[in-house]
């Protein structure tokens, strides 16, 4: 699989989060995603970037434009070195929240993308990876 674009940005502030949304949008347009698919991956990225900021204490976002021959897509990876998620199964449930939000960040963003994976280690941090194919 070819990686056409590969960018890494820090997620330390709300400004970074807004910049991250714009970068994901640019990459989705570059890859030819439909307007609805662009909106879905940008929204998912917004949820996950906020998680990285609020729960992970900041981190980074890696953005890749993928081409596996027959299809093109956008992959976004969010990584933080925060406290980690003790119970991922619980955290993935709709409505589960630790900070008084709606509890839709993880579960909702999973529904908006084609591929979703999450790894978390207590005390070491969390990495979430999403892909939306054209």
């Amino acid at each position: 699989m070819a990686v056409l674009r590969d960018e890494l940005i820090g997620l330390r502030s709300m400004d970074d989060m807004i910049k991250a949304r714009q970068l994901v949008r640019d990459c989705a347009i570059f890859q030819g995603l439909s307007l609805v698919d662009q909106t879905k991956i940008v929204t998912a990225a917004s949820e996950l970037a906020r998680n990285t900021l609020i729960h992970g204490g900041g981190g980074e976002m890696r953005l890749q434009a993928l081409n596996d021959g027959s299809r093109r897509g956008v992959k976004v990876i969010f990584a933080d070195k925060g406290p980690g998620i003790p119970n991922i199964e619980l955290a993935m449930q709709d409505g589960y929240t630790t900070r008084g939000g709606l509890g839709l960040g993880l579960s909702g963003s999973k529904r908006l993308v084609n591929e979703f994976s999450i790894e978390s280690q207590s005390g070491k941090g969390t990495t979430v990876s999403i892909v939306r194919w054209k």
Partner: protein, 127 residues
């Protein structure tokens, strides 16, 4: 920090969101809008999101909060101009905003507010 202007149109307030919103800007808008509803004795709020290309759960929650807060203050909120891609995404995200009134554009939203007022208006004390 940028602020979102709140315009008075007769008994209604018009809020047009045109910036890619910081969470803090959204919180400030809630505060200012509730104050303006009271100080202007507004009967309704039109929240125009036609320029907004991403509504995530935080912004969605803010829209819901604005509608609930204004209802408690005796003003109806109508969300107008939601983009189709945003509507599809919001519902898949799990935020269907069932208690929120919507209209396709500002004109239709204004008509909705006027008719809601007429129906509820009999016997209601004037402000």
């Amino acid at each position: 920090m940028e602020r979102i202007p709140i315009l008075k149109m007769g008994p209604y307030l018009l809020v047009t969101i045109q910036v890619d919103m910081h969470d803090r800007v959204a919180m400030t808008l809630q505060d200012e809008l509730t104050q303006r509803i009271v100080s202007e004795r507004a009967r309704g709020v039109l929240l125009d999101i036609s320029s907004v290309d991403v509504v995530d759960s935080f912004i969605g929650r803010m829209i819901g909060n604005i509608a609930s807060m204004s209802r408690v203050l005796d003003a109806e909120t109508v969300v107008v101009g939601m983009r189709p891609a945003v509507a599809i995404t919001l519902v898949e995200l799990g935020l269907a905003l069932p208690s929120i009134r919507t209209a396709l554009n500002v004109d239709a939203g204004m008509t909705l507010l006027k008719s809601a007022r007429k129906m509820a208006g009999n016997g209601r004390p004037a402000r």
